[in-house]
């Protein structure tokens, strides 16, 4: 097994190199300029913007810039943001807690809803519960988060005035009040994201369960006289979870990436909003770093999913 993991990790190196090259070239060829705001400012002579471009190496040929970036990255130097002149790793670390908290809770909420609802719906297909769950799931993933987000703000912040809609990272309370405030301000974004995720995941869990529930070994288990609960949990669910684990594992990088739209609406200072503002201001080092981290996470979680398969189904061997 350790050999398998090692081999997979070695295979990941060239693919990460490839990804970084593609990302870098695309970003370098993309139009835009981190110093665009300077050009309409009459106080700043145009030579200043030009010399800044030269100083930050924006006028070098692409392959040179890539090699610089690569060698710096190998030394653990992520570069610095053109816009805030701050180290990129610091910038990302600053944004990580909010993202992990909000998006992580949303994923958790989605799982807590999707698995019980999906499993129960699959045990009673086409029952009233299943129909209602299905309809709600359809509604859930048909409504985009920017719509539900604004709807929630209109209802819960403006009309009812229960919840704040601007997320703050410095709540002035301490102790239990601080915890309560943290929860209160996260309710809306977590609900918006969690319900959206839950909707599609419910459908997925249900169909995975339905595939397995009709198999012969389940009938055998029932014939042995095992109770319904035991059959579902020990026999059906364990096998049905294989595709669900893939789905969740592949979604994990998204947890780190944040949800760009939702973070923007609720002003959550997470990685997603960092990425979008960096893209808008053409802050290439930050965009490059964030997207590259995503690429690494995707590779990593794919590996984790593969290892998990073996645990869920020992027939899948590590070769």
């Amino acid at each position: 097994m350790s050999q398998y993991v090692l081999r997979r990790l070695l295979i990941a190196v060239p693919s990460l190199l490839g990804i970084s090259l593609v990302l870098f070239v695309v970003l370098a060829l993309a139009p835009g300029d981190p110093f665009s705001e300077l050009t309409t400012n009459p106080n700043v002579p145009p030579e200043v913007a030009a010399s800044l471009r030269a100083k930050f190496g924006l006028d070098d040929p692409i392959y040179l810039r890539y090699l610089h970036w690569l060698s710096a990255m190998l030394h653990g130097d992520w570069g610095f943001s053109f816009v805030s002149r701050m180290d990129v790793d610091q910038l990302i670390l600053q944004r990580l807690p909010a993202t992990l908290y909000v998006i992580g809770s949303a994923q958790l909420l989605a799982l807590l809803i999707a698995i019980p609802v999906g499993v129960y719906a699959a045990t009673k297909p086409y029952s009233l519960f299943d129909q209602v769950a299905n309809t709600l799931a359809f509604v859930g993933f048909s409504l985009p988060t920017f719509f539900t987000g604004i709807l929630f703000i209109l209802i819960f912040s403006i009309t009812l005035d229960w919840l704040p809609f601007v997320y703050t990272t410095d709540i002035k309370a301490t102790g239990i009040r601080w915890v309560l405030e943290m929860i209160r301000q996260a309710i809306m974004p977590v609900a918006v994201l969690g319900l959206f995720q839950a909707a599609s995941m419910t459908r997925f869990v249900r169909s995975a369960m339905l595939d397995v529930i009709r198999l012969d070994y389940v009938t055998t288990a029932r014939a042995k006289g095992l109770g319904q609960a035991k059959v579902i949990v020990k026999h059906v669910m364990r096998n049905a979870m294989i595709p669900v684990v893939t789905l969740i594992a592949l979604q994990m990088p998204a947890v780190f990436g944040g949800a760009i739209v939702t973070e923007q609406i609720f002003r959550i200072p997470g990685i997603g909003s960092l990425l979008i503002s960096s893209i808008l201001s053409n802050d290439t080092p930050v965009v490059m770093a964030v997207t590259f981290v995503f690429a690494c996470l995707v590779v990593l979680f794919n590996l984790i999913a593969d290892v998990l398969y073996g645990w869920l189904d020992p027939r899948i061997s590590f070769r």
Binding site: P31, D33, V48, V166, D170, P269
Partner: protein
């Protein structure tokens, strides 16, 4: 005549026969109401008045928290690196300049003790130097005294090209010398009628020498205090997260009496303008939101029964359509819109004239800008004393059609006018932005009725305003017939603004399109007017020269002014905030308070 009248009035103020207020009133009567009336007086030998303060609180602190919402949050807190106004706004919370601008364009003292004038001897009569006296007893937040050394250091720091300061342009041509611990003199290479640039206003705040001296030049990025400012301002720095949050707390040693009013300060970033307006005006979660570029009817709706209101500040920002003097469709030496070409349609003044008649400025105001815009016939819309009264505008499709017809442009079979085989087809570009796209539509419709076909194009703002030489869609390249945007006017003086359009500044491939004259306007008379204005120390003559320059731009229809735009902010009803159209939003923050 105006010249004489003004001169005698200045004389009267000097002798005390007329008081300052009466003078300003009289100037209003002759059409010269002046944010810079005071600078006229200063150069006329009467000391510049300090902007009146409306600050009421009688003790320091006790105002609770001030919550500001900047929908684009500051990304760095060193004023010398501020690429945009948001960074200047953030830096200004902690750092201070020698003086700033109040809503009328009057100078307000901050770190300086006295406003320089010819009368008090601080301003040289030949305009080649200005002396600033610093306030005694001012301390940096870490307790070190603020002295002339700090001011001189800021000049050395910014002018060093290795520092990569954005403010290098302001500092590189001047010489700053220390006279004594509390006096500095700025020497200009040539007579400088507008002397209040270096160390004045939010973009030119002063950073402490003792913390930045080691980080001058190529090490500038490594200074730990780039992200943790130690200033002299009313609030002390607490915390900074780029793009997200800036926090400050009352400075108990602040050098102005009874200030600041608020105990803590928070500037939250992120989101969009509409929801920022909502959080301030409708729900009252925040006290103040900056740059609320939101449609007027949305604002009016939010204001109904809300907790805040939209407030406006008049500056000199003009939304304009620029007409290309060169041909964007012919390539000469690998360059389109080359100065070696002439625009095939716009070389006929009748076409230019007709286009200016086809921009319905009133409808643009009514349908788009609302309270945030004013119709105007001028390119230069402020300060008041530089605004021409000689121009006028009108919207008339009939007149435009007649002018075109008289000039020989006859409608073809498809209804589009043509002459000598050239069809009146124009490409009209702007940056992507709701109001701009709507304005494009209004102009296009009117042009169609007059027999001109207009093709609309919009470019992402980050590309349109970029200095990327490789991109064809930037505004300096101007590969279109007309383009619309605005160039912010960041100080109450037109010199920088008008200097752009002299012929030496034409944007070409040779200067990598860094020439700021993007309409590629070439007019000897204009060049001479600007040159004369830049050396003119007599404020009255100088103003009339800039008015003439504006009139030339309008006469030749280099620009079609679309709207004089106002700054729009959102503020809680009980917040007394001072916002100047000539300064950053936070420039007068020390005077903000809350009415109970």
């Amino acid at each position: 005549m105006l010249d004489k009248e003004l001169r005698s009035m200045i004389g009267q103020v000097k002798d005390g026969r007329m008081d300052r207020r009466a003078f300003i009133k009289r100037m209003a009567a002759v059409g010269l109401t002046a944010p810079l009336a005071n600078q006229i007086l200063a150069l006329g030998g009467v000391a510049m008045a300090e902007g009146a303060s409306t600050y009421k609180p009688t003790k320091r602190g006790g105002g609770g928290a001030l919550k500001l919402l900047w929908w684009q949050g500051p990304t760095l807190l060193n004023p010398h690196f501020a690429t945009g106004t948001k960074d200047q706004d953030g830096s200004r919370l902690f750092y201070e300049p020698l003086a700033c601008w109040d809503p009328d364009g009057n100078m307000k003292l901050v770190l300086a003790a006295e406003i320089p004038s010819i009368q008090n001897g601080l301003l040289a009569a030949d305009g080649k130097s200005v002396t600033w006296k610093l306030k005694p007893g001012v301390k940096w937040h870490d307790g070190k005294p603020f002295t002339a050394d700090d001011v001189v250091f800021n000049w050395e720091y910014a002018k060093d090209p290795a520092t990569s300061a954005i403010t290098v342009g302001v500092h590189r041509d001047i010489v700053v010398e220390k006279i004594d611990d509390l006096t500095v003199r700025i020497n200009f290479p040539k007579p400088t009628p507008f002397w209040a640039e270096a160390f004045v206003g939010a973009p030119n705040c002063i950073i402490p020498k003792h913390l930045f001296a080691e980080y001058k030049g190529s090490k500038s990025r490594e200074a730990p205090n780039n992200l943790a400012p130690v200033g002299t301002g009313p609030y002390k720095f607490v915390e900074f997260k780029p793009g997200d949050l800036v926090r400050g707390v009352l400075n108990p040693d602040y050098h102005m009496p009874n200030r600041p009013y608020f105990d803590t300060l928070e500037m939250k970033g992120g989101g969009d303008a509409v929801s920022a307006a909502r959080a301030v005006i409708q729900t009252g979660e925040y006290d103040f939101g900056y740059n609320i570029q939101v449609e007027d009817d949305v604002l009016l709706r939010l204001e109904k029964g809300g907790k805040g209101k939209a407030i406006y500040a008049v500056g000199g920002d003009t939304e304009f359509i620029a007409l290309n003097s060169t041909d964007p469709n012919t390539e000469v030496d690998g360059e389109r819109s080359s100065i070696k070409t002439k625009h095939p349609l716009f070389s006929d003044p009748a076409v230019r004239k007709a286009l200016s008649l086809l921009v319905d400025r009133e409808s643009v105001k009514k349908a788009i800008y609302g309270r945030a815009g004013r119709t105007t016939a001028n390119f230069l819309n402020g300060p008041e004393k530089f605004v021409s009264k000689n121009t006028s505008w009108e919207f008339s499709i009939e007149k435009a059609s007649k002018i075109l017809g008289d000039a020989g442009w006859k409608p073809g079979a498809d209804g589009i006018r043509e002459k000598d085989g050239k069809k009146l087809k124009l490409l009209y570009q702007t940056s992507i932005n709701g109001p701009r796209q709507k304005t494009q539509a209004i102009v296009k419709q009117a042009c169609q009725k007059a027999g001109i076909e207009v093709e609309l194009k919009s470019v992402v703002a980050t590309v349109f305003f970029s200095s990327d030489v490789g991109n064809p869609d930037t505004y300096p390249k101007f590969y279109a017939d007309m383009q619309m945007f605005q160039i912010p006017m960041s100080q109450p003086d037109p010199s920088q603004h008008m200097r752009r359009y002299v012929s030496a500044n034409v944007a070409t491939k040779e200067n990598k399109w860094q020439g700021q004259n993007f309409p590629r306007y070439v007019n000897k008379e204009y060049d001479q007017t600007i040159e004369a204005a830049e050396g003119e120390m007599d404020p009255v003559k100088r103003a009339s020269l800039y008015i003439k320059a504006n009139d030339l731009l309008i006469r030749d229809t280099v620009f079609i002014p679309v709207q004089h735009r106002l700054k729009v902010e959102a503020a809680a009803n009980n917040l007394r905030c001072i916002i100047s159209g000539w300064a950053n939003e936070t420039d007068n923050l020390f005077d903000w308070y809350r009415e109970e």
